[in-house]
Symmetry: C2
Subunit: 328 residues, 2 copies
């Protein structure tokens, strides 16, 4: 069975053969640019691995169009989200609307989404297209709804933990699930196994996102890749904050709210330290780890129900497990 | 066979049964809003009529999902184009990004495009989905490329008539062709007939756009619906301008370029009058009418090649002919 690295190699080769057209340059150059910024290619790799899980060695390459559709969708959403977030940088490089302009960001994103659908239409196994298209649409709609929830949260006074989990589920986790589900469907998996794989990816995706929230505050600056404490600096309502609001004393809650508002007068570094002290005092890292573990366990439960050889499932489980336990 | 009005009634009913979800409100309310602003629903009606043309009475309703997908795509492109054009009004009402904000304009447009694809996936005749999806993608990609060309033209010194025709073909005409082609494919038409219908719509669409350019300057203010002379006021490089640059004397060309530049000192009304005088002096209305007639004839040629009863083709021809010869 394909390993993650095998899958990534296949995807690299595939991407080279399916580059964007050269003209109109203003439309397609930004599409190539965002793809060139890197990214782990984990989502498309999952599509290939799901295909091999259910249909055996050699089935992975049949899911390349699925994988690449998922990767293009992901990058389309990055281009548009960066406009909505007014983000100047993406992976340390200028975002598309910053390097070019707003029109380019909108239009290049749009055409990238259409190219994702072109890859679905190009599936070797044409009979799988109707089912795959339905999953893709369901997931894509979910991602838009998740982004809308995220936008709403910025101005929403009270955000419940349930709402937050729903937001990260829609905004990021369903696409991981969709990659697995569509990868399996593209090689003829039955709907039941494909649905278990969807749940596996969706639940693991929630666990990943919870881990991201944790690492943003408690990660190792040397390996995290982003500024540790960034969420705190931006006053984000992360799961750590929401959990604190739920479990902490009235005093701690008041102090946290002050720190994460315009009332705060501390410098960035001091502010991060002060918020972290409140988190620590309320045992937040342990509580959040438990929340993550809950979704991780549910994810592996779903995987165990897929009708596929255990040794193949073990490869997928090992890979996801490793990603969910990278050192802080 | 369905008339245009029959088709529009069916679409109205279908739209009522396929309204956007209520939540998240900030995401879907703008989608319902733009649809509520009206529009002729000509594109989706063409899908239904194409289905009846090739598959007989009663086939039209089978193409409702196709028609509505085309209508949603069209409205998605309006929302995003209005952002790119910084347009405050659409059909006399505030544009989505004006009534709400930029984020809403981008995200509601995105989800509307995804809903278009959901209608493709909902086709009753599931075996038609792969072929229909390919056409939809090809057309959607063309529309993005046409929009990019239109954006480029704003800053491009020289625009040839060939480039201009290619731009209007991609930006607006291919979607009319696609509506007909997909409507036919959805009820099992063969690829050849579907392709002739595509050409019919595409060529008629070019003729429509040429007519639009003419009416913008020579239309009857009482019936045109937009401000007559709007293109001149906005210094747009329409087909009338490009034709003048091709056929007029050096003096007229120089004067026209001055009028359509920052050098112009005339008030709007005087400017429109002065430009129109140059057009008239160079026989531009007649030349442009001839150009329109060329595409109209080519369109009806393509229609004549479709394997379908002549009396049915006559209905479609009569309807398009009437739209192409509405009084000035």
């Amino acid at each position: 069975m394909l390993t993650l690295n095998n899958a990534i190699d296949l995807l690299q080769d595939f991407a080279g053969k399916h580059a964007f057209p050269l003209a109109p340059k203003a439309l397609y150059e930004p599409c190539s640019y965002i793809l060139s910024l890197g990214g782990k290619r984990l989502r498309p790799a999952l599509a290939l691995m799901a295909a091999e899980l259910v249909a055996g060695d050699g089935a992975g390459p049949q899911a390349l169009h699925i994988g690449w559709a998922v990767e293009l969708f992901h990058n389309f959403s990055l281009i548009h989200d960066d406009i909505m977030d007014a983000a100047p940088l993406r992976r340390g490089k200028p975002t598309v609307h910053t390097k070019w302009n707003l029109t380019t960001g909108i239009l290049s994103g749009d055409v990238m989404l259409i190219f994702a659908y072109q890859h679905l239409a190009a599936l070797e196994n044409q009979s799988a297209i109707p089912a795959v298209l339905k999953v893709f649409n369901r997931v894509a709609k979910g991602v838009c709804e998740g982004q809308q929830m995220d936008v709403n949260f910025e101005t929403q006074e009270l955000v419940s933990i349930e709402e937050y989990i729903e937001m990260i589920e829609l905004k990021t986790a369903v696409l991981l699930g969709g990659a697995l589900e569509m990868g399996a469907l593209s090689v003829g998996a039955n709907a039941k196994d494909a649905a278990y794989l969807y749940d596996f990816g969706r639940l693991a995706g929630i666990a990943f996102q919870i881990q991201d929230d944790l690492l943003d505050t408690y990660g190792d600056p040397a390996t995290f890749g982003k500024q540790v404490g960034g969420d705190i600096i931006q006053n984000k309502k992360t799961l750590l904050v929401l959990k604190t609001l739920e479990v902490a004393s009235a005093d701690d809650v008041l102090r946290l709210k002050q720190l994460l508002s315009f009332e705060n007068t501390l410098e960035q570094e001091e502010k991060v330290k002060a918020v972290r002290t409140i988190f620590d005092h309320n045992n937040i890292p342990t509580l959040i780890e438990a929340e993550k573990k809950k979704y991780e366990d549910l994810a592996f439960d779903a995987l165990s129900k897929v009708n596929a050889p255990d040794e193949r499932k073990a490869i997928l489980k090992g890979m996801i497990g490793a990603l969910l336990h990278r050192s802080k």
